[in-house]
Symmetry: C2
């Protein structure tokens, strides 16, 4: 058994926001800044493009101990030999993912309403909960659930939860106060001129919260 | 080893063209009319929607001996326990598909230029070649290759080829004259008021060609 995923600062990539720097270089900088897990997400990319991005990220992550999780495309996750997959409610079932990726893989599931907890099975090992706040990187996302919605799901969830959606430095204290295991960030790192410094600032406030 | 796929009349589904009749009922009618293989294709559907369509089609195909092939989404093909997958040049690699689906699965690959034959490996067992003629159901398709382009690829291919793209009753003779193993149809069946009769007409001209 592999140790549980360190969800404390979970980077979700956004190819457009990474811009000219590129996804792999952004990931490398973010990991230097303290990111603990990386999710490759690019719903507009075809499987080959996603695979190429994943290979480049794996090159940067090699030796860092930071795992690569692939959003949605279980087939590409298998192709990459990624550390796990993150599934939405409309993606393939977590059972298929567990079967194909094996017992040591990380299988995350997105949850935006407490009612969805009833569908969480043993195949899942952590939840992505949100969007907590209004966000700009996922046009088809559900309505923001707020800190109250987050706290309710965290309280009722049998699994560790990483909060996502509109979370930056200013939101970390409130989010961690809800009992979440960590924060997932997109534009707070990918969209910044200095992703390493952006990640470092988030780590700083996460540590303050942990010791508070 | 399972027998080779009967490519003679290969239906590719189009959810929009199937309209109010629905994909599964269209497939059922087409199979009564003589379709020999069915490919589920819906690039706009999420994995769950594709899975639901696939389950409904499997219900109709049960006992007919007609196999179900899933376009692009290898993960959904595994989830469905489908008979195979059809991959484009930008989809996951055929090797991954072969590994996940096993030796008995059908693994098809789209080819639109003779140069792409160099990339065809042992993992692939047949090719989809086209678009032969102008077509309306795949907006991102390559330029039509015509009967000359089809004949060249069929001649140079180590594998059986099913021709696709703008093929209806009037085109069958020319296409089969190129040496193709069969014709793949979309709007010639899915877009017709009577898909069973449409399939039957295609079977009729295919038999005329075979005995000519």
């Amino acid at each position: 058994m592999r140790p549980p995923l360190d969800l404390s600062l979970y980077l979700v990539t956004d190819t457009r926001l990474c811009g000219d720097r590129g996804v792999a270089a952004t990931v490398a900088a973010a990991v230097r800044g303290g990111v603990t897990a990386v999710q490759l997400r690019d719903p507009g990319a075809d499987a080959r493009a996603l695979f190429s991005l994943g290979r480049a990220i794996q090159g940067e992550l090699h030796g860092t101990g930071v795992p690569l999780i692939v959003n949605d495309r279980l087939d590409v996750a298998v192709w990459l030999g990624a550390d796990g997959v993150h599934l939405g409610q409309r993606d393939v079932s977590p059972e298929v993912a567990r079967r194909l990726l094996g017992p040591d893989a990380y299988v995350g599931l997105s949850v935006s309403r407490a009612e969805q907890l009833a569908g969480v099975t043993d195949a899942v090992d952590h939840l992505g909960v949100g969007p907590v706040f209004p966000q700009t990187t996922k046009p088809d996302a559900d309505e923001p659930i707020g800190l109250d919605g987050l706290a309710r799901i965290v309280r009722e969830s049998p699994l560790p939860c990483v909060a996502i959606g509109g979370i930056g430095v200013a939101e970390v204290a409130g989010v961690m106060g809800s009992g979440a295991a960590g924060v997932a960030v997109v534009s707070a790192v990918c969209g910044r001129p200095d992703p390493e410094a952006a990640a470092r600032s988030l780590v700083h406030v996460l540590r303050q919260e942990a010791s508070a």
